[in-house]
């Protein structure tokens, strides 16, 4: 093979590999994002698969977090303000995990031995919004809200 031809072959190959890689990644992302994402209401309606891993997103219900004393196990309720699903998880939670925070849990639905399905999470990710402010500003906002008689969500 002449150097020129080898070079051309390399070009064509790199374009094919590059385009293939890009498409694969996009498909990968779309699959993970669209096909396997459910809200608690959909899970409660039985729309989610039983033995396949999927993602469930929602808000952590205030006062629902129960931590085990002797392990990293934790249980909390996840809601989309329509339905609530209990999530069990064992591991380190992200720093942003707190009550009232939006999170995405990945795992499987377990229906064994319980009346309501329990979501057994293998990974818990915290989702934060695009708002940034100093703690004092956040406090001031809270106070002015409270003064107006609104409760914080």
């Amino acid at each position: 093979m002449t150097p020129t031809r080898r070079r051309r072959l390399l070009i064509v190959l790199s374009i094919i590999v590059g385009a293939g890689l890009a498409t694969t990644l996009v498909v990968f992302a779309l699959k993970e994002n669209m096909l396997f994402f459910y809200r608690p209401a959909e899970v409660a309606q039985g729309l989610a698969p039983v033995d396949t891993a999927f993602r469930m997103g929602g808000m952590v219900v205030d006062g629902s977090v129960v931590r085990a004393d002797d392990s990293l196990a934790v249980q909390f309720d996840l809601t989309d303000y329509q339905e609530t699903i209990t999530v069990q998880y064992e591991g380190i939670l992200p720093d942003l995990f707190r009550e009232g925070q939006g999170i995405i849990a990945q795992g499987k639905l377990s229906t064994q031995g319980v009346e309501r399905p329990v979501f057994e999470a293998s990974e818990v990710l915290a989702k934060h919004d695009e708002t940034y402010m100093p703690p004092e500003v956040a406090d001031a906002l809270e106070q002015s809200k409270a003064a107006r008689g609104e409760t914080t969500p």
Binding site: R7, L96, L125, K127
Partner: protein
């Protein structure tokens, strides 16, 4: 369009800067100033970002990564757009300086994309709980890195510099479709990545006290891009024109 003998000042400027020798001399004069401005702005911006601005109410000190992550992410897309404009000029008007500037931009764009991905991972681990998630925003940014690397590889793999620039320019224009995907990914798909903080129209959702370092770094990364791009382009220009009389004159005679 070029044979119209109009003395439009913009056209005149393009023709003048389009001359490799003029471009080389002019950029040589600007370069030290650009580097000086970039250094001062970066030092000022990072001091503000790390020391002056208050911590965030939710993420405390970790959100300081924002001040390099967000400007880098903007640059990864801004440089691509700038490169595509120059590639377009290069393809249509066959201006050598435009070709070289487009190709000189690619490694810098790749560098900013790399920084965006690394700092994003380092921010995601403590806050989200994962270094990486196959989320539409992150995946499309990773695809951007591959497109940059593809353009660089394509440009290097062809011997004839002018032909190489043309082929790589076409690839740069094709890759343009990725930019709107990156930008709108947070709206089109359910992403772990949060939405836009800074909006050109409408209110931004960052407290005013946290804004200065972001603006300073946004300007600093722009001047950095021009400086690094010119530094690359000047090298590529004298290498490509090594047998032209102007390079011989400027390089050969100097002590």
């Amino acid at each position: 369009m070029a044979n119209k003998q109009k003395k439009n000042p913009i056209v005149l400027f393009i023709h003048k800067t389009g001359s490799p020798e003029y471009f080389y001399k002019l950029s040589g004069r600007f370069l030290p100033w650009l580097i000086a401005i970039t250094t001062i702005l970066t030092a000022w911006g990072l001091y503000q970002a790390l020391y002056v601005v208050p911590p965030d109410y939710q993420q405390s000190e970790s959100y300081r990564i924002l001040f390099i992550h967000v400007p880098s992410a903007w640059m990864s897309m801004f440089i691509y757009a700038a490169m595509a404009v120059m590639a377009f000029i290069a393809l249509v008007w066959r201006i050598k300086v435009a070709e070289i500037c487009a190709m000189a931009s690619a490694p810098i764009g790749a560098a900013f994309t790399f920084i965006t991905l690394c700092t994003g991972a380092l921010w995601g681990k403590p806050m989200w709980g994962a270094y990486w998630v196959w989320d539409a925003r992150m995946t499309s940014e990773l695809v951007l890195l591959f497109i940059y690397l593809g353009i660089i590889a394509l440009y290097r793999s062809i011997d004839d510099r002018r032909a190489a620039a043309r082929v790589a320019s076409i690839m740069a224009l094709v890759g343009l479709v990725n930019l709107p995907i990156i930008h709108y990914s947070v709206e089109w798909w359910t992403t772990l990545h949060q939405g836009q903080t800074i909006r050109l129209t409408g209110p931004s959702s960052i407290d005013a006290s946290m804004l200065p370092p972001l603006i300073i770094m946004a300007v600093a990364t722009k001047t950095y891009f021009i400086a690094a791009m010119l530094a690359n382009a000047r090298n590529m220009l004298i290498e490509q024109d090594r047998n032209k009389s102007w390079v011989r004159r400027l390089i050969g005679d100097a002590p």
